[in-house]
Amino acid sequence: MTDISMTSAQSQSQTGKIVLRWLLYIALGLFALFYLMPLFVMITTSLKSLDEIRTGDLIALPREVTFDAWRTAWSGACTGIQCEGVRPYFWNSILIAIPAVAISTLLGAMNGYVVAHWRFRGANIIFSLMLFGCFIPFQVVLLPMARTLGIMGIAGTIPGLIFVHVIYGLGFTTLFFRNYYVTIPSELTKAAKVDGAGFFRIFWSIFLPLSLPIIVVTVIWQFTQIWNDFLFGVSFSQAGTQPVTVALNNIVNSTTGVKEYNVDMAAAIIAALPTLFVYVVAGKYFIRGLTAGSVKG
């Protein structure tokens, strides 16, 4: 008797668990659908013709798939008087983002290494000041930075934008690397010093090879920041050096006559693709780096 009642109670709770589990999955699925909706609308709209957009339903699948909008967005859409699409601006963004990410990551690694392992008088103050730099709203520095760029003679140029992004990325990259490097025992530096290695040798041969996980984190962070930046891009560029975010804004806001939703959507997706790419590619290495670190012991 007792046995039977036990099992029925057990199977009841078992059923309850399964029902709960399914409710949970359904709720999560709905959230995911809700979250993916805008992307869905963007992609379908970008594949429709203008006529279909005007007459059709917003969330309907395209009756006829056409890549015309993508072609226009890439190389024909007009920003004001020029009609060359986002292509030149896309390359501008790449020319800005890649050196800026590389330089700020490398300098951040070096700074973090110094702050964590080559303690000097005032190291804490300098680190605090750099941290403070992370929290300065960018609007505040626009005017002084414009003046600085002017004095340096790189206002409105791509090197100028690289410079700005490196400066404002340094706070974060230094913080990332410093926090990673303080977990490396100082005995490692001491052993290398006794072995005869100097400042740069220890950095290159011992610290950098250990840094893959944090390099990936920093690259993802910096690339997203720099690629998606609009404020610096719009403030410190001139015709011909604008990044893709600024171009996107111009395409969407400066059309006259009929609003080409399909082109706008395609241009927006193009502008967002590189960050997506970095997440997908580097994210894998990120997780791999993390597990490698945990097994290291």
Partner: protein
Amino acid sequence: MSPILEIKNLYKSYGTTEILKDINVSIEPGDFLVLVGPSGCGKSTLLNCIAGLEPITGGSVNIDGKDMTHVSPKDRDIAMVFQSYALYPTMSVAKNITFGMKVRGVDQATQDKKLAQVAAQLQIEPLLNRRPGQLSGGQRQRVAMGRALVRDPKLFLFDEPLSNLDAKLRVEMRSEIKSLHHNLGASMVYVTHDQIEAMTLATKIVVMKGGVIQQIGSPAEIYNRPANLFVADFMGSPAMNLIPAKAHSADGGTRIEITRKSGEPIVLTDTKNRDLPEDVILGVRPEDIADPDLRGAEAAQAAECLIDMVEPAGADTFAVMQLGGKHVTARLHAETTAKPGQPKRLSFDLGKVSYFAPETGLRLN
């Protein structure tokens, strides 16, 4: 022979905190110097000062007759083994060992030859292509030793190299370090907080406390004639019994009286030491309080004691009692008849006894 390491009037402070005060030590070539003391006594800092990893505030450090006070670590001709081993995690064992030579620009053939030599010596040939992460604690320890050995330095420095190993491995590595020292005839400075490690390894021990040297001497000197109460208490396990007592001059020596909670005081006669002040602290090693039948020494005198506790430890049995208001441990025979709560006749051997002044803690005899 000139000393291989000579430290003169060394001071070290961080800001206003003095870490090391007036350190003077020197060792001859082939010596095994052990710096021992409780945590925070400055022994590791002193080692780092010898290595040049910490700048010193005052004084001088000479290695092999050359003033190295302001020389960088790499030019001091030293090698160091760290507590955490500090192996380079991304390099193979072979690369770890040859890193120093690579940095110094030693040619490849010499590197290979020395690597093979050291690997054979430490029996780590099968590990050469592995990463430190794939090694056990004992193997990492060996690699760290290999990295030091390959330099063939004037002076080896060890910073608590065995404290991360389990008890069994620690004893194994300890005797290995000892035989290594014996075979190489190298000069070594070794930091530990483990007084047994200090006793077994050292040819010379420096006992430190609060940044001040308490005593320098051979293991036997430190053990048998501790300079003060701190050294007496710190070195030896179980610790030396430090019993408050009264001393009176008497015929044929000094009468030592130890009060007891209950019953008559114990009265012992010391025939060797005279002219002691009245209040003393009597230092007796546990092995000098033993079963009477096992002692033939003339200095031994028997007294009845109430045993509080009996702790069998295999080879010996420790009996704990109350004398002069202190717990006193006696090292008895394994098959002793001592039982807790029962009186037992014990013999006190005053042949190697120490006396300390209660106020200053300094040795009197």
